[in-house]
């Protein structure tokens, strides 16, 4: 019987570990962007490697969690939703890894005048995703509190949009010294960073519905 096996305990540990991976990934990504803006390439590569490891570990955990839920028939009614949620969270860490990789390959030339905007954009976008993780944890322990936690995700996502908009406006309307290709490249990098908060919002929408269902 499930109570007498270690499956439940193991699964809880794995889910927690998965959330820890996402949390850490977000932290490292923020530091990675800062390191890039500070032109500290050693630190940037170190952070890139760390995100890469965390992403691989998250993939492994995701697979194990889904396998265990299916083989031991755990959470039959919420299984597909929990799997989708984990998948959405995994997409966030995938996006972090691919963004840092893109930056590593393309080495965008970010003017120092834009450093503050880029840091602000990264902070806000990462904040949105960071607020999602406690909400996702709360789904398992206190689903009543999920929706109030998600409010912050929506707030930071909207703030990210605003910062992204204003930064792009500065690039395209005030920085005449940059050529169009350079401007387009910076916009592309902004999209990458902004994408993290968009993914967080997508996961928040799902989580919000899941929380209502479980509370009712």
């Amino acid at each position: 019987m499930p109570v007498f096996t270690r499956t439940t305990k193991n699964l809880i540990i794995k889910i927690d570990e998965f959330f820890d991976n996402i949390d850490l990934g977000l932290l490292v990504f923020r530091e990675g962007i800062k390191a890039y803006l500070d032109k500290d390439m050693d630190a940037f590569h170190r952070h890139l490697q760390k995100v890469d490891n965390l992403e691989t570990n998250a993939d492994r955990l995701q697979r194990e969690i889904e396998n265990e839920m299916i083989t031991h028939s755990i959470l039959p009614q919420h299984r597909s939703e929990v799997s989708t949620l984990i998948d959405e969270l995994d997409e966030i860490i995938d996006a972090l890894k691919s963004s840092l990789n893109e930056i590593n390959i393309e080495m965008p030339d970010i003017p120092s005048s834009l450093n503050k905007s880029f840091i602000s954009l990264t902070e806000t976008s990462i904040n949105a995703a960071e607020e999602l993780v406690p909400a996702a944890r709360a789904y398992f322990k206190a689903p009543y509190t999920v929706r109030e936690k998600l409010l912050k995700v929506y707030y930071f996502e909207s703030e990210t949009d605003k910062i992204s908009f204003s930064t792009k406006k500065i690039i395209f309307q005030q920085m005449d010294e940059l050529d169009l290709a350079h401007k387009a490249h910076l916009r592309y990098i902004i999209h990458h960073i902004e994408n993290v908060s968009d993914l967080a919002q997508k996961a928040a929408d799902l989580l919000s519905g899941m929380a209502i269902k479980i509370v009712m």
Binding site: F4, T8, L75, Q77, H78
Partner: protein
């Protein structure tokens, strides 16, 4: 010939298994918390245990309603009830064996000119009404407790669900046991006066005549559960109201408690000691109780969640079932008596106790039946042992293959 007469009872037992027994695990299977295979095996085993160990209690109530005093009558009655249940089950409607057998006994009373004991009938009908009402009240109460527990303890969802799953299995086993104890009289009760089998020594324990009949009935029920209960489980579990896992546990627990309340003489005596009237020992309709429980939770959550169409169909089936069973019994008795010249029973003299009249009915073929039961049990033991070993080996093989495939996957990934 005696075995032929038993077939209708076995058919009725099969119907009971396919229909009533599926109510125990219906909500658990419907909510996907317990697999059908696991539910069917647990329900079968515990139903048989309940029937054999504690099955004789409620048979007295039915014999008070009408003491069938000929084996031909018992056969016809059980056949009519079984056909009624089979037809209802065909339409996936959760009806009750109690209703069918009560209808059949009243049909027999009409045919043979016997008086139907209105007090007993009143008790039974009252239990039909009280069962679902108590079930609904208990379900609401338990549901509130479970919800409050979940909220206050902030237990992890996965751990909570694992408790629920274990609870469903344990409560389901208890429910199946109670159902066997409570409802086996519906299947085999009408045959008890006609059989006087010699005691069956099975080394560890001995089965008396009634217990052997209950065992046969239990085995027939188990066959019904394993072969035909899937459809009814789906109706109970999914169609009336979409059940959450905790609601599924509450429904099974409330139902088991109601069955227990109406079967436990100990509880009844305890209530009498407190100065309250005793609880009638009546075979309760498990289908009515479970619908009451589900309805209770539906009402607590808001009536909009309830599928009233399915509920209406079940309500109609409740009325149709005893009436159809009674009419069918009446016509079948007519054919049995006039075309096949089989003695289907006679009017019981008011001055003579029914049990005295039935003692001379059957003393034929007993050892054959006992031997068949013995060989049947032996065969089942061997079949069960092989089945368990095969299952364990199969599960181990699956686990090994899964592990191998995982290892291969991660090796290739690296």
């Amino acid at each position: 010939m005696i075995l032929f007469f038993l077939t209708s009872g076995l058919f009725l037992g099969w119907s009971l298994g396919a229909n009533d027994a599926s109510h125990i695990f219906g909500s658990a299977v419907g909510s996907k918390m317990v697999t059908f295979r696991k539910a069917a095996i647990i329900a079968s085993v515990f139903f048989i245990l309940g029937a054999v160990i504690q099955g004789s209690g409620t048979s007295q109530t039915l014999s008070k309603l009408g003491a069938v005093n000929a084996i031909g009558g018992s056969f016809t009655l059980a056949l009519a009830a079984a056909i009624t249940i089979y037809m209802m089950t065909k339409f996936a409607l959760p009806i009750s064996t109690t209703q069918a057998i009560v209808g059949a006994i009243i049909g027999w009373n009409f045919f043979t000119g016997n008086r139907t004991d209105s007090n007993t009938l009143e008790k039974i009908v009252l239990a039909w009404i009280a069962g679902p009402v108590i079930g609904a009240a208990l379900a609401i109460l338990l549901y509130i407790i479970v919800k409050k527990f979940k909220k206050s303890t902030r237990i992890h969802l996965i751990r909570f669900e694992s408790y629920i799953k274990t609870g469903l299995i344990l409560v389901g086993a208890f429910g199946a046991y109670s159902l066997g104890a409570n409802n086996i009289a519906n299947v085999m009760g009408v045959f008890i006066p006609a059989f006087n089998l010699k005691n069956l020594d099975l080394w560890i324990f001995t089965l008396n005549s009634s217990q052997q009949l209950f065992l046969l009935g239990g085995l027939a029920c188990a066959t019904g559960i394993l072969t035909y209960s899937w459809k009814v489980m789906q109706t109970i579990g999914s169609n009336i109201l979409e059940l959450s896992s905790e609601a599924a546990l509450v429904v099974v627990l409330a139902q088991s408690l109601v069955l227990f309340i109406f079967s436990s003489t100990g509880l009844s005596n305890l209530i009498v000691k407190t100065g309250l009237p005793p609880i009638p020992m009546v075979p309760v309709s498990s289908s009515q109780v479970i619908v009451g429980c589900i309805l209770g939770i539906g009402l607590y959550k808001g009536a909009r969640n309830i599928n009233f169409k399915v509920l209406g169909e079940i309500g109609i089936a409740w009325i149709i079932c005893p009436v159809a069973s009674g009419l069918l019994t009446f016509f079948l008795l007519f054919f049995m008596k006039n075309i096949f010249s089989i003695n289907v029973g006679s009017k019981v003299s008011e001055s003579i106790d029914a049990s005295v009249q039935t003692t001379n009915l059957a003393t034929y073929g007993q050892s054959d039946v006992s031997n068949i039961i013995k060989y049947l049990l032996f065969g089942l033991f061997i079949f069960g042992t092989i089945g368990i070993i095969y299952y364990i080996l199969l599960e181990n093989k699956k686990r090994r293959e899964m592990q191998r495939s995982e290892e291969k996957f991660w090796k290739n990934m690296k």
